[in-house]
Symmetry: C2
Subunit: 175 residues, 2 copies
């Protein structure tokens, strides 16, 4: 339903696996609605290590909110994990869109949903062990397990690929 409206301000584009849609350090940023496929957003820290901020599969939106809110340069890279079809739009135009169509409730509730997801993530990062975070990841996103290489899951969980590998071995043995 959101898709029809988005059509008015967005252009559709295809990206191949591994293609970068947006890099960090840029002056402008876009919003990306995933029609088909799978994207990830991530930062690269001072030590050159990647940290995945979000995955986005069908129906999800990715954008660098830091850029929009704080007016700095972009901090996120956005990349296709699978061949993907994506609606690209200008975040500023969202406001016009809303006023015209009164899709406010939808906008607000999807922003709140996102906040809810992030709330869980923050609380988990602070209180749960790596293993607990991995197990709850599997429960919440069972589909991603097969679509995303393990090292990216580790990066999303905030641990190293080696650590995740050991946790998996441990889970199998402990069973």
């Amino acid at each position: 339903m959101f898709e029809q409206i988005l059509n008015q301000i967005a252009v559709s584009r295809n990206f191949k696996k591994g293609e970068v849609l947006q890099s960090a350090g840029q002056e402008s940023s876009k919003g990306y609605f995933v029609k088909k496929g799978l994207l990830r957003s991530f930062t690269i820290d001072d030590n050159g290590k990647e940290h995945i901020y979000m995955f986005a599969s069908e129906g999800w939106i990715l954008s660098d909110i830091e850029k929009e809110v704080f007016g700095n340069k972009t901090v996120l890279y956005i990349e296709a994990i699978e061949d993907s079809e994506v609606y690209i739009f200008n975040p500023g135009q969202i406001y016009q869109l809303d006023l015209q169509h009164e899709y406010t409730d939808y906008m607000i509730s999807s922003l709140m949903k996102r906040i809810g997801v992030m709330q869980r993530r923050i609380l988990a990062l602070m209180s749960a062990s790596a293993r607990e975070r991995y197990e709850s990841f599997l429960q919440i996103y069972p589909d991603l397990q097969n679509r995303v290489p393990q090292k990216m899951i580790a990066s999303y969980l905030g641990i190293t690929p080696e650590a995740l590998s050991k946790i998996r071995g441990q889970i199998i043995r402990n069973k």
Copy 2:
């Protein structure tokens, strides 16, 4: 500006330092707009340890979005750190409010601001050391340093009070 409108659906109440406005595990939840004073929201994990999710000083809103979004019971406690004056409202009524007054842009941009803050926090939790997180906390919230006991800052940063104390000692010596 938001305050005048909020008046229509909210009631004002005063809380003393240490008072609990809301507990985890409840069926219903409220929104809290801080007019004066300082609140915190936090969880208590399986080991009985507190983890602070947010501080809210004048002009900020606290609410348990998990409750609203996922329909579970509340997961957050909300408590007054200082004597506070708070507008209490029912989150569901926000929608009516918006439609009537077309304060949509304000709503959307404040939700985005919140997402921006959380984005920073998540990325920091994943990539920065405890000391780095503490130093950036001081930069971003210089006022809170004096209003909030140290152990709560530690809890917000996701570390133990002892660890924060050692970091502080280390900063002074290293200087």
